[in-house]
């Protein structure tokens, strides 16, 4: 197991290097000189030159590339072009809020999704099933932006139950987490339902039933354990996808967060901030996928044997 994890970590190095390089190339390929943009409407040449020197943009591209790789490896992401603050400080100030949102909405998606999926499968082709399937279809296809505004109108303006904006307290994360988590919950519900229905057709279930195991035990002890395996991968994907959804959700609910920060940084061509954020996302992706794979081995002994 340890060897497996170490292998995976070694494999992560080229992935990170690759994404660093790709991001560097894309940013520099995009039109727009950051110094010119920082200079604003006043395009005085002396100020643009001053800024280019300050930001190190007048160096040859390969020098910029290797400096950037070397600095990134040492964990030095430099200073934001836009406000000269250390990029690490900015990331750290925004990360907790996005992490809170992503974790709460993933937990919401898992609990709701799996519960609905099981109910849907158990009451297959009955009213409960149809209602759940329609609701999860809504969840998957509803734009987060629209749902967010709808939730604010119902729970904040009309019912005065929950705050519409900001972050800090748990109450403030409920609405955005719901808006963000609904898609994941919908996907999971449909996925869990289908897997259960597939597994339930397997011969071992017939054997279990023939042995006189109760239907309840068959479902919760045997079918579910097998059926949830594919959903685990999806949970990883859903969690990483929350970062993407956070852009919209953070805007609607006026929350702090990485999503909003990256979009602003791209607009301003704040290269150090973009680079650092992409790196964080890449690392995040790798870690989550690793965790998913490790959790596989707990649920499925066959995986454990293979990797050991």
């Amino acid at each position: 197991m340890v060897k497996y994890i170490i292998n995976r970590l070694i494999l992560a190095v080229p992935v990170i290097l690759g994404s660093l390089t790709l991001v560097f190339l894309i940013i520099h390929w995009l039109p727009g000189d950051p110094a010119r943009m920082l200079a604003g409407d006043d395009h005085a040449e002396d100020r643009i030159q001053y800024l280019q020197e300050q930001l190190g943009l007048n160096r040859p591209l390969w020098v910029q590339y290797f400096t950037y790789l070397w600095d990134s490896m040492r964990g030095d992401f430099g200073h934001s072009f836009a406000n000269q603050q250390p990029v690490m400080d900015r990331l750290l100030s925004q990360l907790p809020s996005t992490a809170e949102l992503a974790v709460v909405s993933t937990i919401f998606a898992i609990i709701t999704g799996i519960t609905l999926g099981i109910l849907s499968a158990v009451y297959r082709n009955r009213l409960v099933d149809y209602v759940i399937r329609i609701v999860s279809l809504f969840g998957v296809s509803m734009p987060k932006f629209w749902l967010g505004i709808l939730l604010i109108l119902i729970f904040s303006v009309h019912l005065h139950l929950l705050p519409a904006i900001g972050n800090g307290s748990f109450k403030q994360v409920i609405l955005p987490a719901f808006a963000l988590g609904v898609t994941g919950a919908g996907i999971l519900a449909r996925m869990v339902r289908n897997s259960i229905l597939e597994v339930i057709e397997d011969p071992f279930v017939t054997t279990l039933r023939a042995k006189g195991v109760t239907e309840r035990k068959v479902l919760y002890l045997h079918v579910l354990r097998n059926a949830l395996l594919p959903s685990l991968t999806i949970i990883g994907v859903i969690f990483v996808g929350m970062l993407e959804g956070a852009v919209v959700t953070e805007t609607v609910f006026a929350r702090q967060g990485i999503g909003k920060m990256v979009v602003d940084a791209i607009g301003q061509k704040d290269i150090p901030v973009i680079q650092a954020s992409i790196l964080i996302c890449a690392v995040f992706n790798i870690v989550v996928n690793l965790l998913v794979d490790i959790s596989y081995s707990f649920v499925d002994p066959r995986v454990r044997q293979q990797s050991a």
């Binding site: 995009l30 409407d41 001053y50 836009a82 209602v131 705050p163 900001g166 609607v252």
Partner: protein
Amino acid sequence: MKLSKRSYQSVILILIAIMLVLAGCGNSSSSSGSSADTNSADAGTPTAGGELVWALAGVVTNDILDAHRTGFAPSTRVMRSIYDSLVVELPDHTFGPWLAESWSLSDDKKSYTFKLRQDVKFHDGTPFNAEAVKFNFDRAVDPATQSYLGKNALGPYVSTDVIDEYTVKVNFSSTFAPFLSNVAKVDLGIVSPAAVKKYGETFPQNPVGTGPFKLGKVVPGTELDLVRNEDYNWAPSGSKHQGPAYLEKLTIKYVAEDATRLSVLQSGQADVADIIPPQNLLALRADSGFNVQETELLQHNYSYYFNQNKEPWNDINVRKAVRAAIDLDSAIKTVYLGTAKQAWSPLSPHSLYYTSTVENTWKYDPDFANKTLDELGWVKGDDGIRVKDGKRLSMEFLDAQGNREKRLDLLAVVTQQLKQVGIELKLLTLPAGTVSERSLKGEYDFAGSSQFYGDPSILRQMYSTKGPSGVNNVARTSDPALEDLLEQANAELDSSKRQELYKKIQEYIIENVYSIPTYVLDYTVASSKKVHDITFDSPAWPVFYDAWIKQ
């Protein structure tokens, strides 16, 4: 999949229920009331204390609150509470004392001498004096400051001399008419020299001024808390009281999303929200639970510019035809629902030296447009778009700002109108960096832009190669006659002569169709009934010094 009849009925019932819930929510934002109170009416004696929560339209980008370093409107609106200016510009465009008690112009009219108040302290306790003023002006023109507007505001600035502890002389290389108006703006607000030295690169996030409020807490990218400056006793002339502000705390939350901003106001999570979209403005005006204040923003109106460096837009007849093809009156009524009126001059109507002589000097006249374009040899092709020498009459419009102030909605209507006479308008929505790069290279035909300012010298920035934006003025105008007028007006200190010059300039710009003014924007502030006496500075940003909450 087989459904029983009963299940069908249930499913349909549930669907209907869901729709009803959704429909109910859709209507909620237009709750109606009876009274149409649009003024912050007198409500007795102001009471001190309390916290006011302001849902700010937009984001203070990177939390930059350095007066000399940012020109973005949301930051500027916030900074008015933190920084004071040497003088204040009153609604009639005259000037009153603020941090300066008096001022005089030298005999050669190139230097201003300011006598400063002697009792003013910065938020960090350091004294405000002549050295501080010198530091501020020198800082605003230093390239290292990355000043966005501060530098433009000082024009032909040469130096500042410290005459004594509380007297400064500001020197220019030539006469500079907009100086007092510029010095009254936040862009030349007075920052604490000690704090700039102490915080260095992080000063923009740690602003220290002399204003009625000082920085409490910053929640990066989300919220700012300003707290009352208890020592404050130097309010500008024109204020309703002296001494510290009434509000104990001013909490500013960045709520860029229109629908959310309205919701936090309506649910009572904010006391004030600004920049209300037209459809909500109508509802709020009719809602007795809220006050709505509407103040004209002094600015260069949002206008469409032709790129003069590109054919066929350098031909005045083509420009006239395009202008005649646009029915701005109906477009503005459709999009702004009667909350905005048509603009006739580049300057907003309450700007200094606005001239009404340009009003109604052109009109929607599709026949004229068609006839002119026919005569110029632009013939309608199969798809209805005109063609000449194999070239289509098509214009590219670059946009990076989205539907701010419903500008893209307006453009959509204009696009349809232009199509009627055979002109194609293509909207290209691109990232800001790409738009900036393409604009610099002149790769566009038609552009839209506005700039808040408050002094007619904004026209030099927008139409002259000698202005601060140089050859990058949006219209790419390079017209010696116009530039000569703009230079004269910039240096002319005699107000009646200056007025005459700006009258000519506005007429000239409209006659030559260098731009097409669109709508006049009112800056709007909606507040709950318990909030009173929010006032406005020049160009129209809110002042919370006199504001108070009825307890």
